[in-house]
Symmetry: D2
Subunit: 390 residues, 4 copies
């Protein structure tokens, strides 16, 4: 990269959790500057957010449309390069579309949109404009997840038979304060969140992780969704039987009423020769279980020798030596950094490396939306199996 | 107990894994002696087994019928008190029935029979004869499993919402030597094993554990079974969506092709107020996760003070101080000891304590067989949900 | 073995913790019967203990001297074969000596005696009488400890450089009820316990474990002992710098005031090529950490292939398949079983196998007593290093 | 903060591990910009480093003296605010002194200097100039370490009795490539590293952590240092018995030849009422072990209710919700952010919050150097105890 990229942010005003995460992820490697934002539809909150982020007043905009329009008019060496969209799901499509159509690249939080229809339109825009879109399926940014993917691809485990992926949380075991006050917990509001709370918020992460590591695609599923908490309108728990390409089978569980759980994403994949296990709450460990051998613990950042050498995809996404834990923010930052490297390479007329290109894209976004809609469709059906196609 | 109980064994000749386990479990507490056996239909193997177990030749019998007949004729202070049945599943029903009808009590390995029909007949015989039958669902013998059950019952977690129980193994990832040689891996032979390999061998353990701890009953299920290994006639993997009484939902996974797994039984149960987690491979830990509180680790054998005091069901089944791990053999021995205490109390005209009575019975055996048959029925159905009734 | 061995017990009356452990360990494998005992100097407690253990009244003796004298007069096919000594430390020497001099073998709890002098006299008696003496340093009975020893011996880790062994407990963080009532917590009474509480009770286990696995001997040490609890006369915590043969160094920590710890024995050994780690509270795991390779987790009971094949010393001491945890009682039982196999082989004029002979002996007892005395001597010295010789 | 702080870096040219870590830590929160640097004495490497960091050529300086001199002449709203010193230990004192004497604040990597004498001079300069100096003892930046400190201070564990702190690494189990080639592994070169390799590089982290959490001070120690690797001139392993103020005792182990270990910092502290345990490789867990209660696992980022409420010092240093792991880079960033908040508050004439002021200072640096020198003195002495005073 010959210069830092300039980022504009849509959403992410003060006290918005995910906006702060995106900023840390963007800043960490010193390759991206925040230069402008449309942080909030509340002018005062927008202004205070801009000030807290040390932005000049004239680059804090009242809404994303104004931001995109005004920035597009700034000199090329001043205006933003891309936008980061950290708004509720229903406000992903609009800014993503407008940004790309005005020559800006896009990072967007997941799920990409609130419908397959919107998702496919974004896919079409990406194809048409040639712009770069990154989707922040964070868990695929961890080095040991990338190591897992590389080992599966290399045939280390033989043909894959079974995939168990789960994402239990407990934070919606009760109505949130916002729900209780009748206010806007937007995630639990179908108008802002989409067709499924639990699948949109976290199930889609699990589905992406399963397909990312295994290289397989879900082709049929059988789902049971539940809304356990009185007074909640959307589902907060779901379990899904899965059938994958190449004969693999699996189970996906996503739950926000698993009281006492934090963010316990975990995946286990078993092939003919062995299995692997990875968990978000212990992310620098990749447990490898081969038939007839002691279990192996691959750990981030080690300079193992052959045949254990860590994949270039793992090492490219590691910042510090083994034993010094890297966490979720670094996984998030890997998506931003790879996106930035890709955008920069394209600007400079270069081909991005395979490692730089390794971040979730609009195709993952389309599959994610299709996953949500297929789960809901299956849940409402009495047929055991519902076909998953895009 | 005023004297040791005398045990006769059916099956369990030399090199039979589960017979040896039963004997260790029976011997450990010094309350049971092995006095006779019908160890094998092969006379030489039977004789050698008897000798290795230090039995007199005249109490090593050629088959269970002879054993039961001859022992019944011995003086009351010599003859066996009960039989332990450790044969393949298809040879559980016969000796159990004959023993009870001749005045002997019974310990039988799981699954209790090869059909619901047989199971119900045993249930009827127990009712008619008043004999005691214990079924060795080992995992319910662990102190921390009993603690979990007690805490659920006490309302510690509030109303139960979600149950995830799993039993992954990897040892059938390939055809076994016996299968390959065309020989008798009896578990994989429907004639000896029953309608499902994976559910009979291990799934039924998982189902029992879920119902034992939660106090709930499965009422509907949706199953997907698979036979992954070429050349195997029976299923070796299965996943099941569950619906329980009182509105709880769950997932049960049983797999023998999860390559690299050993005996990784694990259960997680979530209620309105918190959740619990227990695993066979780390059995002295009960992880308790309450909303708004640090996680707690209840450990076997501790003299916690109120409100953490361990249940009498946990302490009754613990032999040594905390930090000194007890394992599967002790859990197994708890079933034998509680059975022995119950049988002795009954003989002495006393009422067994609630703690002594806490072992799996013929009712659990009937539900176990119904679980297997319902899973198979669901697997073969295109309907999403299949009713589980007994 | 052609017959069961017959055991007499010295100490271990009702409610005595360690006596019950010894009995379970002796019974588990069906190779040893309890035939007599001198359980208590209190006649009523002795009688009740005998009754609870289903012994005939005439083989419940008032004291060990009477027991040894009377049993020696019984017919050869009736009298006990060996005694198990589970009394306070000060009553180890007497019965051990008398038993061996009357032709009986001996299992004795650790520490072997209360002085090096006594220990050396027992060593002389063993040599003179040719009897077998086993010392219950339990932790060396675990399969994964034996695997560790085998791997060190095979040079897997190269030359050993560093040994860290620790045994933290918390149960003496306060005066015990017995101490508070001015009564007999014999462990904390120098007259019954010996020169050091913490080193006699648990430090000697740690020292034995370090020497057992590493094959090295402590040659110099530097100790700091403390009595932290007001009202206690003996030490309850100690830390020791160690120097071993062949240039290895180490640290040994033993503590009974590490509040909240249970029995957290742990050892780590590092060589030129890699290290190992083992812990009592997770005893079926042996963590192997080789330079440049993923960590490996060797687990009890697996049929690994070369070069990972488990040592015959590990498999000989394993009863059940991998993933089914074995615990402290099985480790204890391994000492009894190996002792029984050795005694039986000798009686039958056979040479015991190397695996059977693998239990702690009188030599370990002598080193244990010398360790305790050297630690106390070092503690009282202002010199940094105190020589450890026997 | 009303504006970002401007940082100049001394050392940290391309491929220098610790410089990159400092930059990530400084950038992450968007409160610090890198504006200049003296990255290397090699002009080409310096230029390339500056370019890779997107700096203008005129702010890449040939050495720290030039940098400090030139920056001091720049306008107040352009020039750097502070320097970050990431050079070998022998080049800490010079730039720190010069910076403070020219009105710049300082972040310096540990150990602060190469002698107590230098350290005390820096302490005097801090006092004289009123400048702010932060020392990057990273482990004290973790939220759960701060929680531990707060709980000890609140008396949660009662009077502290025992502290065990350890820092095993394995990366110096062999001569490094630089050592082998006769080149400059500066850590192992006494001229650049100071009096002890193992204590300067990692032992001083362990000592700081023990004093930071416990609030106690080491007053006497007894050390044994070793150089295990042939061809290495400095020590690579050390064990130390400790005596603290208020009667506590402890053990400190630092080792760089613990083959297979990564950065396994771990501390355990035991008081009259309970104990705590924390480890760098699992940093979001604080294990709390109270007498008579189940173990508790305090985890970063949770909104526990009273009496479990996390300390404001823990929450101030946490960025994301529980279950999303934060790692070493975030701990490092906490030092930078707290330093930046403190410096900004002072500039703005405000009093920094207690939470902002919670970073290691020049006083910690003086104690760290005294620790190293006292350990070396003890190692060379035949007396058991060497007094630790500053």
């Amino acid at each position: 990269m010959t210069r830092k990229l300039r980022m504009g942010m849509v959403g992410g005003g003060q006290n918005a959790f995910i906006g702060a995460v995106h900023r840390i992820a963007a800043f960490m490697d010193g390759k991206i500057d925040l230069v402008c934002g449309a942080f909030s539809s509340d002018p005062q909150r927008a202004a205070e957010s801009g000030k807290a982020l040390f932005l000049p007043e004239d680059r804090v905009y009242p809404d994303y449309k104004t931001m995109i329009e005004k920035e597009a008019q700034l000199p090329e060496d001043v205006r933003m390069d891309f936008i980061s969209i950290v708004t509720p799901n229903s406000v992903h499509f609009g800014p993503a579309k407008l940004a790309m159509e005005n020559g800006f690249d896009v990072v967007v939080d997941k799920p990409m949109t609130v419908s397959v229809e919107e998702a496919k339109e974004l896919q079409e825009i990406v194809t048409r404009t040639g712009r770069t879109l990154a989707l922040t399926h964070t868990y695929s940014g961890y080095p040991m997840v990338k190591q897992a993917k590389a080992m599966v691809k290399d045939g280390h485990f033989g043909k894959i038979r079974k995939i168990v992926v789960e994402y239990p949380q407990g934070w919606l075991s009760r109505l949130t304060d916002k729900e209780q006050s009748g206010g806007a917990e937007w995630r639990a509001d179908p108008a802002k969140s989409g067709k499924s709370l639990v699948m949109g918020d976290i199930g889609t992460h699990a589905a992406h992780l399963a397909e990312y590591i295994s290289g397989l695609k879900i082709i049929d599923l059988c789902a049971d969704l539940t809304s356990f908490v009185d007074g909640r309108t959307m589902d907060d728990d779901g379990s899904v039987l899965l059938r994958f390409t190449d004969g693999a089978k699996g189970v996906l569980m996503a739950s926000q009423i698993s009281a006492g759980e934090e963010n316990a994403v975990r995946i286990r994949i078993y092939g003919e020769l062995g299995g692997l296990e990875w968990a978000n709450e212990d992310p620098n460990n990749l447990i490898v279980k081969m038939l007839d051998q002691p279990r192996q613990l691959y750990r981030t950042g080690n300079a193992y020798v052959a045949p254990y050498t860590l994949s270039s995809f793992a090492t490219h996404n590691t910042r510090i030596p083994s034993g010094h834990p890297e966490g979720l923010l670094e996984a998030f930052a890997n998506i931003y950094r790879n996106f930035a490297e890709t955008v920069s390479a394209k600007r400079d007329g270069q081909t991005p490396s395979a490692e730089s290109l390794d971040f979730p894209t609009v195709e993952d976004g389309v599959r994610g939306m299709a996953f949500i809609e297929t789960v809901v469709k299956s849940h409402e059906s009495n047929e055991k199996w519902t076909k998953f196609d895009v």
